[in-house]
Point group: C2
Chain length 175, copies 2
DNA sequence: TCCTATAGTTGGCACTGACAACAATGCAGG
DNA sequence: CCTGCATTGTTGTCAGTGCCAACTATAGGA
């Protein structure tokens, strides 16, 4: 599966080298994309009274429905303390409500308020229309295929890095 | 461009509605992908002694060669003050050098040190091998096509949101 | 020379994100 | 019942991000 490098056959394209080249291209493209979108998000979300992280949290709560803090933190790949503070800010701004859990008195139940839902919808509409304008230049087949591919990449990455692999850090020794 | 919703013809698929659906799918997929990759980056870069932003800056300097601070800031879509501080940290850690510009005494020239280059290569190798493992499950055509598509999306987004469009904020009124 | 533009730095603020310590419960076992 | 351990969230602390605004120093033109 992973041997055969070194001398190499050189004549025909070796699948190994091909895969490596593809991986490098993918790396470059993904870096670019993520960086551009991070910026775009900062830019387009901030002016709606919430930060990017806050918006992610809001989106997650809308998507998930009422949730506990730990669930939310896991969904966002954040430490629970960070999640707690993000929620605190959203609560202060009136977009999320924290109510005590009826059975487990340790737990809280996070819900999106009406204002929160409105904000979420507004931001979503905004970003979707952005994509829409962008897609207008794309061929219909590509427009259809793009989301599938992106999701597949995201899923693959998630199952490797995310909860799946577990052991996360330092495949290469740090200095 | 944006009318015709409500009653709609229903019979044949209208291109407008199709485009809208595609845009929504793309939005969802991109959100997911960006979120997962942000997390993965936090996770895989942090253990190399630099933060994600610092790593982006290092990568940009390697890519660009010696640059001024404003150039770097623009490349990273950051305010120059932020860039200045990021560079300060990288300098403290010994990965970047700030030297005075020979002709313009206001300017600095940022260069990557040998240690910085080594760190960059190590991180890059790490992330590329991550992509590689991930790509192993993909069909060869998809592996080839993915980077092209991602880059195209990134470019499109950049030219709209980025320097191109300029006017950035609030297409929808804030609350 | 004086005025304006440009390159960077610094102060200040709010927020992010991680880790550690902690309070308040829940949930057994004895 | 009571003790010990696990779990849910919150808070303290620290480093870093990111923006705006103010500032210094220099460049460059009128």
């Amino acid at each position: 599966m992973q041997g055969a490098r070194a001398k190499s056959v050189t004549a025909r394209k070796e699948p190994e080298a091909e895969l490596q080249a593809d991986a490098e291209n993918l790396y470059a493209a993904l870096s670019e994309l993520v960086r551009v979108y991070q910026f775009r998000d900062r830019d387009r979300i901030c002016c709606h009274d919430v930060s990017v992280t806050q918006c992610y949290a809001l989106e997650a709560l809308v998507r998930r429905g009422p949730s506990g803090l730990n669930e939310l933190a896991a969904d966002l790949f954040l430490d629970k303390s960070t999640a707690s503070r993000v929620v605190a800010t959203l609560e202060r701004k009136g977009y999320v409500a924290r109510v005590a859990h009826s059975e487990d008195r340790r737990a809280v139940v996070l819900t999106v308020t009406a204002a929160g839902k409105r904000l979420h919808d507004r931001i979503r509409k905004d970003l979707v229309s952005e994509e829409r304008a962008l897609l207008a230049d794309f061929e219909p087949e590509v427009r259809k295929a793009a989301p599938k591919l992106l999701l597949r990449l995201a899923r693959a990455a998630m199952s490797r890095t995310g909860r799946g692999g577990a052991a996360v850090c330092c495949p290469t020794k740090p200095e």
